[in-house]
């Protein structure tokens, strides 16, 4: 299958890559662009480890084709920090021990950011449903929810 | 003389005794003498074995001293998750 040239914007930078038409965006990001912070946990859109935002919308990159990113804007976990300053969600995840193994963390951070962008002051229930597309097997979610609450609080102060 | 109790399938290696008497001061001596007396024990040593001395479980430290009046239990080596 011939490859297609894709021009896209990733974490604010213009990026080009060529990929086969049937390749997932997840594979393009990991294998062609080198963004291995985007994780594959299932390849079927059930675990959320590959979460990114595409034009601001939260998606599983394993359910999007690499060629579909043409002309669009992508944010991955690698683009969350502002220069040398961690995003408040990143800070609070570390501070609240919201990660154990850390494999699901990139996806949770992206999903949590999408949630807070939409709803800066979510209730616990809104956080729990907002993150229900992401599987974590280590933490039991307790410290993740608390970290998102703490980050939301800090972000509202600004 | 130590009274050594055996659990599970280990008993079949010592002629189905639940308890045997062995003269040993360390785990190494204990296991060596057991195999001398019951050659079928060597298979279990290869598969891995654990020794409980007064309730504390040892899996590898064969140099461990065994007090005279200790309660000694032999059990298969157990994996964890």
């Amino acid at each position: 299958m011939p490859s297609v040239l894709v021009s896209t914007t990733i974490n604010g930078d213009a990026v080009e890559y060529a990929c086969p038409q049937d390749e997932t965006l997840l594979d393009s990001l990991r294998d062609r662009v080198g963004l291995t912070g985007v994780k594959e946990g299932c390849g079927t859109g059930d675990c959320g480890a590959c979460s990114i935002t595409l034009d601001g919308r939260l998606v599983c990159s394993c359910l999007v084709l690499g060629v579909e990113a043409n002309g669009r804007e992508i944010t991955t976990v690698e683009g969350l920090s502002d220069g040398d300053k961690l995003h408040p969600l990143q800070e609070k995840f570390i501070e609240h021990a919201a990660l154990q193994c850390g494999i699901c963390t990139p996806g949770f951070l992206i999903a949590a950011k999408a949630l807070l962008d939409r709803n800066p002051n979510p209730t616990v229930e809104e956080i729990r449903y907002g993150l229900a597309g992401n599987l974590c097997r280590c933490t039991g979610y307790d410290k993740i929810v608390r970290a998102v609450q703490a980050a939301a609080k800090q972000m509202r102060k600004k | 003389m130590l009274q050594v109790k055996l659990t599970g399938t280990l008993q079949s290696a010592v002629d189905d005794e639940a308890e045997v008497e062995i003269d040993a001061a360390t785990i190494r001596e204990l296991l060596t003498r057991l195999v001398e007396r019951y050659p079928r024990m060597s298979k279990h040593l290869d598969e891995g074995i654990a020794v409980s001395i007064n309730g504390e479980i040892y899996r590898d430290n064969w140099g461990t001293q065994i007090p005279d009046d200790a309660e000694v239990f032999l059990m298969p080596r157990i994996p964890g998750g």
Binding site: Q100, C101, G102, Y129 | E56
Partner: protein
């Protein structure tokens, strides 16, 4: 005494604080490299072809078309993996599980593998491999597997532990028995006897990171393996042995590990990746899909358990028995034995007997899953405990307290206990506000206890002091959930310096001595112990160097609060020397300052937990929601309480998933029907409440800081705690896990007689 393990009773400076983990930034920025996150120049993509049949003879494998496909660099079958195991059946089982040898034993069993220049080519090549199967009758249910006429899975397996020695092969690989006293006499004394049977379905550890490795073998017989594993040293030994490589010539590096819970203590496809690389003379990256993880790695057992408990009206248990049938998958192991050992470990019983059966089925080889075998036994025993308490009209917590094991109790699995925590966790349950909270309509509360052994094991650690006084602690246990932070805390405590001054690294197999796997809740326990000993050895060196700098005898130097202090009338006025000051002079006082330690960290200290759970059951649908959950567990000493709580919470939620939803579903054809996260449903954030924790600290007398393992026990009580809560909510006893909506609904309908 550097290697003295005794509890020091010391007052701690940094132990028990909650600093940030050193690998946190890499893990929140995507920089941390897990199994699938690395690559090598010229690397190939490896893929494995798997059997679609539960049980079949492999007559022939034709790989010629695949070999001819452009871009294919190696095709592999068992013919490329000669048996070098020299009669070691356990090793041959590992090899056969990695690649079928003339027979497929379960749906998903590997039969061939390819390495090609890219994923597309590798996929095409798999389709070109022709396997000629002769399908055989199969069995996937543990009770069916022991019925007369069931297909025999391993013709070399004769039931061990029974007399006379069987003459025919059997799917029961062994029978094991534990206990003491006279159970018949005990039951004769009982006022009440309850006897019940239980079933639990097979579940998977469900780590989010699939197995992944990058193998590179050179034509001179040396090689490297980058892999997600709980034990890179063990992987090195097993892989080199199976492939006929020298141990020292295979360097294994543990990647960051995206969860393991026991599932990454076994090799599943790493020897295949190495063999592909050797055949192609190129690096090969092999990453499992989720479907492969479910079908072809090691879930835990499905079980069938009978429990009988007799008690007097005053609540004294007079006798208890359990018969436990554990499904091991296609290869024999000791999981039923473990179930038999753990079943009654929480209680002080005069007459007790538990019999474990290990049973083969056409399912994947079972692996450890967090306190392996204990949750299923606890489900049966703790459910029956509640039934007995109800029969004699006693509060279930009081009933357990009355019978709880304590120091001096003869454990049901043999030894006599030292100081243990089951009693204190039960007292904590009794006094917990959770027990007094009001319940609403359709809600119920349950509690249950759990036990796990915990292990230590072989451990090797280096501690090196830099020229600026910062400290590198190098360990060989992987960081599954914050252990770098805990181990830095321990080294800092022992040296008397701040946490920030210590950095903990995980060494590859070429850089450190052998370490057992990170299993059995041993990571922080044993590497922590080795770190203490390494620090004590470094302090000896630091004292010598300070003595040199002062030109006084070393006997006059003591180490206090991170500084060398000169003692006695003659030297007492010398200003103290900090670790930094001594480190700065190291080049001229004898060179690098380091402490090493090699230790077998035995005596990890048994662990107990009690959990409380509230559920709400929808009587229309049978759907159950956990609305409140409390974990109370003895940690010995919590080094970094955040990560201890994390272990408690994570284990509890895995248990909740097991109790309510998760199960392997096999079709009549012997194929796994739900090999994906959509149909194998693990708990998500919106399913779960906050998990409250209470850490008890009953010091382990055999660790300088009193540490016990904490990782596993938290998964033991949930099945039973939820079972008891559901039963209290709906008034019907549930005896089959998972208690999914259809099963609860069925039980409700049957109970109402409609």
């Amino acid at each position: 005494m550097p290697q003295d393990t005794s509890y020091t009773h010391q007052k701690f400076n940094v132990i028990g604080t909650r600093p940030k983990r050193p690998d946190g930034i890499d893990k929140v920025t995507g920089r941390a490299k897990f199994g699938a996150d690395t690559s090598a120049p010229g690397q190939l993509v490896g893929l494995i072809l798997r059997s679609p049949h539960a049980h079949a003879t492999i007559r022939k494998i034709d790989t010629s078309k695949a070999e001819r496909l452009k871009g294919v660099k190696a095709v592999l079958t068992s013919a490329d993996l000669p048996d070098l195991t020299d009669g070691d059946r356990a090793m041959l089982d590992i090899l056969e599980n990695c690649m079928a040898r003339g027979r497929a034993l379960y749906d998903g069993h590997a039969v061939a593998a390819v390495a090609a220049i890219d994923a597309q080519t590798a996929k095409k090549a798999l389709k070109l491999i022709k396997v000629d199967y002769k399908v055989l009758p199969h069995v996937t249910d543990v009770d069916e597997a022991i019925k007369p006429g069931a297909p025999i899975i391993q013709d070399w397996v004769f039931t061990a532990g029974v007399e006379p020695k069987p003459k025919r092969p059997s799917n029961i690989s062994q029978r094991t028995e534990f206990g003491h006293g006279d159970v018949e006499a005990g039951f004769a004394e009982a006022d009440v006897i309850v006897e019940r049977s239980y079933k639990t379905e097979q579940t998977h550890q469900g780590y989010i990171e699939p197995h992944a490795c990058l193998a590179s073998v050179r034509p001179d017989g040396s090689g490297e393996l980058w892999v997600t594993t709980q034990g890179h040293f063990t992987f090195r030994n097993i892989c080199s042995s199976l492939l006929g490589m020298d141990v020292a010539k295979l360097k294994v590096t543990a990647s960051e590990i995206g969860g393991g819970f026991g599932g990454k203590t076994h090799v599943w496809m790493e020897p295949v990746a190495l063999a592909l690389s050797r055949k192609a003379n190129r690096p090969v990256k092999l990453v499992m899909s989720r479907d492969e993880v479910f079908r072809a790695t090691g879930p835990t057992c499905s079980t069938s358990v009978d429990v009988k408990i007799g008690a007097k009206k005053d609540g004294t248990i007079t006798a208890a028995t359990a018969e436990l049938r554990y499904q091991n998958g296609a290869f024999p192991n000791i999981w039923g034995m473990l179930g038999a050992m753990t079943s009654f470990a929480c209680y002080d019983l005069k007459n007790v007997k538990s019999i474990g059966y290990d049973i083969l089925c056409n399912r994947p080889k079972v692996a450890a899953y967090r306190a392996p075998s204990a949750p299923m036994a606890a489900f049966g025993v703790e459910s029956t405990m509640d039934l007995v308490a109800a029969e004699i009209g006693m509060d279930p917590v009081d009933f357990r307290i009355k019978n709880a094991a304590k120091e001096g109790t003869l454990a049901s699995y043999g030894p006599t206990y030292g100081p243990i925590g089951i009693g204190p966790t039960l007292e904590a349950v009794k006094n917990h506000p959770h027990m007094r909270a009001r319940l609403g309509k359709n809600q119920g509360r349950g509690m249950a206890c759990g036990f796990w052994f915990n292990f230590g094991g072989q451990t090797c650690t280096d501690l090196n002091i830099g020229i600026d006084g910062t400290v590198t602690l190098t360990v060989g246990t992987v960081d599954v959930g914050g252990s770098r932070a805990s181990l830095s805390l321990i080294a800092a405590e022992e040296l008397g310096i701040p946490y920030d001054q210590v950095i903990t690294n995980i060494a590859d197999t070429a850089s450190l001595g052998f370490n057992d796997m990170t299993e059995g809740s041993r990571g922080t326990f044993s590497s922590g112990m080795a770190a203490i000993f390494a620090a004590r050895n470094a302090i000896e060196v630091l004292r010598k160097r300070a003595a040199q700098m002062w030109e006084i005898p070393v006997e006059a130097v003591v180490w206090e609060k991170g500084e060398a202090k000169a003692m006695g009338k003659k030297h007492g006025n010398l200003p103290q020397l900090s670790l930094k000051e001594i480190a700065a002079k190291a080049p001229n006082t004898g060179g690098p300052i380091a402490g090493h330690s090699e230790v077998v960290a035995d005596n990890a200290g048994v662990s107990f937990a009690s959990h409380i759970c509230d559920v709400e059951v929808d009587p229309e649908t049978g759907a159950t929601k956990v609305i409140r959950y409390t974990v109370i567990q003895d940690a010995g000493k919590a080094i970094h309480p955040d990560y201890v709580e994390g272990q408690f919470q994570g284990g509890a939620v895995q248990g909740i998933g097991w109790a309510l939803n998760e199960e392997y579903i096999y079709g009549e054809d012997g194929r796994l029907q739900n090999a994906g996260f959509l149909d194998y449903r693990m708990p998500v954030c919106s399913d779960i409440p906050f998990i409250d924790t209470q850490i008890l600290e009953i010091p382990n007398p055999n660790h300088p800081y009193g540490v016990r393992g904490v990782g596993e026990t938290s998964i033991v009580p949930p099945l039973a705690a939820i079972g008891n809560a559901v039963s209290n909510a709906v008034g019907v006893r549930l005896s089959h896990v998972p208690m999914s909506p259809p099963r609860i609904l069925k039980a409700l309908v049957e109970a109402s007689g409609s």
